[in-house]
């Protein structure tokens, strides 16, 4: 059963994490609307088992990322195909964000988790279910690519 206290803290989680999760999702899926859809669905999934989750924030991140992958598959986007620059709504074009969106699919969430959400290697590893070494090496490659792209 979800008690009042749990509900309250779920609402707090929602308040705090909604915006960062939308940013995370939006680097993977192409429109902000779709990103918000993914995030709302992820919160619904978290809500259902909130009383059984030890680390709601970590659980939420993984759920959002899985949701993005599912969306990408449905939209027939190959994982190597970059997401076109987004001009929807109020977002100003940001060439760094654009460069991140052109990274291989696997590298994108790591960059966002590290440099936007400020997670540690260990946290990123547990979010993505990969070894810490993989996080380090993948981030290293992502940074190398981004350096080329950004400073070109």
């Amino acid at each position: 059963m979800i008690t009042i206290g749990d509900t309250m803290s779920f609402e707090l989680l929602y308040e705090r994490q909604y915006a960062p999760m939308v940013r995370l999702a939006h680097t993977l899926v192409d429109t902000r609307q779709r990103a918000e859809e993914v995030v709302q669905d992820a919160f619904a999934a978290v809500y259902e088992r909130y009383d059984r989750i030890d680390k709601p924030e970590a659980y939420l991140r993984t759920t959002v990322l899985n949701g993005c992958r599912r969306t990408l598959r449905r939209r027939m986007l190959s994982r190597r195909q970059p997401i076109p620059p987004s001009y929807d709504g109020e977002l100003a074009y940001n060439h760094v964000v654009d460069a991140i969106r052109r990274l291989p699919h696997r590298q994108r969430p790591m960059v966002v988790l590290r440099y936007d959400l400020q997670l540690t290697d260990t946290e990123i590893a547990s979010t993505l279910g990969v070894p810490v070494g993989t996080v380090k090496s993948t981030l290293h490659r992502a940074i190398a690519t981004l350096r080329e792209e950004i400073t070109r």
């Binding site: 939308v22 709302q40 599912r70 598959r73 190959s78 109020e90 964000v97 993948t138």
Partner: protein
Amino acid sequence: MTDRPDPDIEHTLESSLQHHAASMGTPTGRFDDVLYRVDRRRNRRRTVAVLGSLAVVGLGVVGVAALGGDTAETPSAAEGPPITGPEASWMATTTVVPSFDGNFVGWACEGEFFVDDQPNAAFATTTTMVIPADETVPPDGGPQATYLDETYLIDTDPPDGPTRYFSSCTEVTVPTDDQYPAPTTTTVESYTEWDVRDGDTLSGLSSMFGTSAELIAEANGWPDGVDHQLPIGESIVIPIIGGLDLADPIAQTTTSTTVLPPSTTTIPPTTTAVSD
């Protein structure tokens, strides 16, 4: 090559992403919409469970209805009988029906699929499950239930052709050589690292680890794919493939072959036991 990330580029990234976040404003979601989605998920599972239990009781009737193509009366999602079926076995929200014409062509369906007027479609799915190679399954369980929602039930021979029952769905095409090697399926179980030495080749490494060159290239994000020159002295990521079959613990909790008409099962379920 530097060993450590360049602090300048890291700073640029952080400030650009901060700027990006600021330019997005503060998106505020609608909390009541989350609650609505929770309700929808529950109803969907209830319906699916009801359909599953109906399948057990009335296989013959359902089979005839499915083959005949007549529209059967649809149990209503919200007003259906209480859950009596194997709820967990019908968590799938996406169904992909392949046809083997060189490509994997299928019809992907949303979860609401099960509550529309095509209950037979749920029974047209059979027993082979594909877990896409890029999916994350934390070894300790983690958000497994979310993952279960992504289960793919594959049917190679739906009665009367797939479009008849899947007309409300989105067509998807996935090349067979990409993430859905059909009909055999593989999934990346884990990753390991390998320090590349002089003399290593991509094909050598892939056969050594029982994986494929394409998966290695993909996991490392090489833009030139399998043509990439192996970086001697550096470490690369090797995805380890695990064969997925129905003895897989996840598969066991998400599929139930007992609720399916045996006659529609054209892919024999893999029965190889996987040790825990």
